[in-house]
């Protein structure tokens, strides 16, 4: 194994340090918005990281990950609306609901492969979208405003910007750490093995689909956590956030950063959302630049940002 000090690792370390020190910068300059913006970025990075677990390591191209963001969010929103404000209840419910949904649709979807898998996950996510649109008690299409963020018995105050930011960052780092542990465990080896050669793993005696399913559920649960965070961040939840284009954006973030690399999705999310923010400030026609840029990245920068950094590292 060669030295750990290479361009890629230095960039990752700098980004992580930057994320940690951001509230300090915000306090010194008085720029509150940068903290608001990065809270959103950190949450989406967690969602992208969860998608990367099944896409990058498990070879399962889910085109319906926005559904978990919605389910996690609606769990928080609906409980808050019904007067249950405690995060100790809201968040476990959000995670359990996402896990249950992932278990059911995973069990059905994993019968298919390839493009069919992409499409069946999309189909289920669209159904979830239409169900949410039909929840007329909870605002239907118009969505539901969350008047009070989750409370944690005085342990942490979610309406304090800095505390909430660090909570999100903690969840992101925790999530990435968990994914790192998973992919390097025996379980993770099997999942990765199934990805590269399913028949061989079956032949050795592994029940490939069970491993896939567990991986699928873990990913959905992590994304459900991101959904609970996002609902608290926007104080609002609506079906619009579950539409298929949101699932597509999550995929873009993962591939942008580098699929199947631990920190790739985090970098991908940061660059993607910042680009969107900045380009839309420069010109209304930002998509005119963003579109071809995506095409060029796919054509010439395989492996996304991490892939490019890796090439720098080598030489």
């Amino acid at each position: 194994m060669k030295s750990h000090i290479n361009v890629r690792n230095v960039v990752v370390a700098l980004v992580a340090l930057g994320l940690l020190l951001l509230p300090l910068y915000s306090a010194v300059t008085g720029n509150i918005f940068i903290l608001t913006l990065f809270t959103r970025i950190v949450i989406f990075a967690l969602a992208a990281a969860s998608l990367n677990l099944i896409m990058g390591y498990g070879g399962m191209m889910s085109f319906g990950h926005a559904a978990y963001l919605g389910i996690g969010g609606y769990a928080v929103g609906i409980l808050a609306y019904e007067g249950i404000g405690s995060g100790f209840i809201q968040w476990p419910v959000a995670l359990a609901a996402s896990a249950l949904y992932a278990l059911v649709i995973g069990a059905l979807s994993l019968r298919t492969r390839g493009v069919y898998f992409i499409m069946i996950t999309l189909a289920f996510a669209q159904m979830a979208y239409y169900i949410a649109s039909g929840l007329s008690r909870y605002g239907g299409d118009d969505g539901l405003t969350i008047y009070k963020r989750s409370t944690f018995g005085g342990l942490i105050d979610l309406s304090n910007r800095v505390q909430f930011y660090y909570l999100c960052l903690f969840c992101l780092f925790g999530g990435v750490y968990l994914i790192w542990r998973i992919i390097n465990s025996r379980f993770g080896m099997v999942v990765r093995g199934v990805r590269s050669n399913e028949q061989r793993m079956q032949a050795i005696g592994f029940h490939a689909n069970r491993y896939r399913l567990v991986c699928f559920v873990i990913s959905g649960t992590i994304c459900g956590l991101a959904g609970a965070l996002l609902a608290n961040n926007t104080d609002f939840i609506s079906p619009a956030g579950m539409y298929w284009t949101r699932s597509g954006e999550l995929m873009v973030m993962v591939v942008f950063g580098g699929m199947g690399s631990l920190f790739g999705p985090v970098l991908g999310t940061i660059v993607f959302l910042l680009l969107e923010e900045v380009l839309s400030q420069f010109t209304e026609y930002w998509a005119l630049i963003m579109g071809p840029l995506l095409l060029l990245i796919v054509l010439f920068a395989r492996g996304g940002i991490m892939g490019v950094l890796g090439r720098f590292s080598r030489g």
């Binding site: 910068y25 300059t29 008085g30 720029n31 509150i32 918005f33 940068i34 608001t36 913006l37 959103r40 649109s133 605002g139 239907g140 299409d141 118009d142 969505g143 405003t145 008047y147 926007t234 104080d235 609002f236 609506s238 619009a240 956030g241 940061i270 660059v271 910042l274 680009l275 923010e277 900045v278 380009l279 839309s280 400030q281 209304e284 998509a287 840029l293 990245i297 920068a301 940002i305 490019v308």
Partner: protein, 391 residues
Amino acid sequence: MKKAFWLAGAAVLALAQPASAGDTIKIGFVSTFSGPTAVIGNDMRNSFELALDHLGRKMGGKPVEVIYEDDGQKPDVGKQKTEKLIQSDKVDFIAGYIWSNVLLASLKTAVDSKTFLISANAGPSQLAGELCSPYVFSTSWQNDQTPQAVGTYMNQKGVKSVFLIGPNYAAGKDMLAGVKSTFKGQVVGEEYTVWPSQLDFSAELTKAKNSKAESIFVFYPGAAGVQFLNQYAQAGIKAQIPLYTAFTIDELSLPLQKENALGVPGAQQWVNDLPNAENKKFVEDYRKKFTGLRPTFYGAQSYDAANLINSAVVAVKGDTSKKDEMKAEMEKANFKSVRGPFKYGNNHIPIQNFYLQDVVKDADGQLALKTVATIVKDDQDRFADKCPMKK
């Protein structure tokens, strides 16, 4: 890829610029400037800019700076832009908002920070009722008011039965509920279509035709309104069952609807030919400044929003820290609205007239909207008593 990194770096720098608290009046304007409905946002921006031109780009002696932000018709994006305007740009006022769901998502941010929000279009029932706020004013209407006026007009015409069609989202349900609350005849059918993805109304039109209703009422804003009228005319129903509309025919959709819209009535609180001096100036100067375009009610409401803000700033001589005085001034609606004079209710929603508008051919053979009659005078929305604020 390197380029992407430089851009990202530039992004951080751009965002890092501290907001300069100069001696200007800062106004944020959130609307839709991208996607298919950008055409509405453009009209609102044009009208807001025209109003600033007419004000000499100054309010209370101070120069005005407007920051336009695109919500992309998405609630979460609209909320984020609202946060940016309030936290990063530190605006004194925030205006715009086409969509009810974008407004509802952004409302809390504005109210919590005690920034005045002027809705220049969206009017969900919550805003008029339980969510009313001292910091929120409307220069438009509450959703139900316009269809209520249509229902009243149908009574006046002696219509006995109606078939209702509308999109299945909150404003759509508000609209149909609005007609039902005033229409005295029989509602023989009620159909909701999937919004915004359903564009083919053949199934609903067939049902309406076979229901033997005497009339059809629809609410389809924007492109959906064009599609509905096309299909209504092509199906040959136009000759059989008359159509009544709310927010379905306006100056943006008319050039696409063409002859299909001729003779189809609707109700509105503002029509381009309302005979008052402010309106004449607004419409004429708009058509001069933006050649080939005609202002819409969206624009008229945005023009009014700029003048409402101006009245508040003038009253405190540019000292925007005097929020209570500005609120008191705005409650008087002490400016010359292009719809003619109106009052504010306790919930800061206008109490105003609604007019019957019809599509006619004007002198040079162009299709245009024309005021035919006043349907209701000084109409107040029916949620005002749910608002805890008292006059």
